[in-house]
Symmetry: C2
Subunit: 135 residues, 2 copies
């Protein structure tokens, strides 16, 4: 059981961020003392890592909330699971679309790199045998 400051440090965020996430429904302290102190366990740490990754990929907290909610669907009633399934599927599609967009951007980038390299070797180092593109 970590206090908020400890787990925050472990996760690389601030306590403020944790309270904010709680307020937005992304996490919950595993225990709360009578005085109101929040205590967390390693599960929360795992969730925070997941949040970090998904954020880095461009999801909003709202979207992330949905996604991580899905991973704790085990105790939910049967009917909820079917809805979950539908959502998971559409989320999968979104992810696929983002991946292909990034891959397209990647291709364009590579092209641009080659072009720039060509121009460099033509203008800058006339007559030199260059090693060609690395990628």
């Amino acid at each position: 059981m970590y206090k908020i400051g400890e787990i925050a440090k472990q996760a690389g965020v601030t306590p403020r961020t944790l309270r904010y996430y709680e307020q937005r429904g992304l996490i919950t302290p595993s225990q709360v003392s009578t005085a109101g102190y929040r205590y967390y366990d390693d599960d929360t740490l795992a969730i925070l890592t997941r949040i970090r990754n998904l954020k880095h990929v461009g999801l909003t907290l709202e979207e992330i909330k949905d996604v991580i909610g899905l991973y704790f669907t085990l105790k939910k009633p049967l009917e909820a699971k079917e809805k979950t399934l539908v959502y998971l599927d559409s989320h999968l599609n979104e992810i696929n679309s983002k991946i292909s967009m990034l891959q397209k951007a990647k291709l364009e980038l590579k092209e641009q790199i080659q072009l720039t390299q060509q121009r460099l070797s033509q203008l800058g180092v006339k007559g030199q045998k260059n090693g060609g593109p690395k990628n």
Copy 2:
């Protein structure tokens, strides 16, 4: 040559957005009338599409500004091109990292989908022959 309203509609954004992008240095009208009217051509339309894609992938306008700047490096001096090259390369790395994160998320999602489907078929439809996962 489109007026701002026309190109905005084509690009699926508002004129306000175009002015904002201009202010942030992402685009420039190809011509400006003496009265101050902005006129754009198809090149700008292409850039706007690119911006849309990169935004959808989670880049900020500031990052996007850098990226699209690179694609108009043709007229820049030689020395600038080498810096460009370095940046392009690091940007490529970032993209690769994002892609792999998304692919990881995708795998986890698929697992979760299978789990949910299993639980559904076990609890809900006892004795039924289910078709198994689709993916």
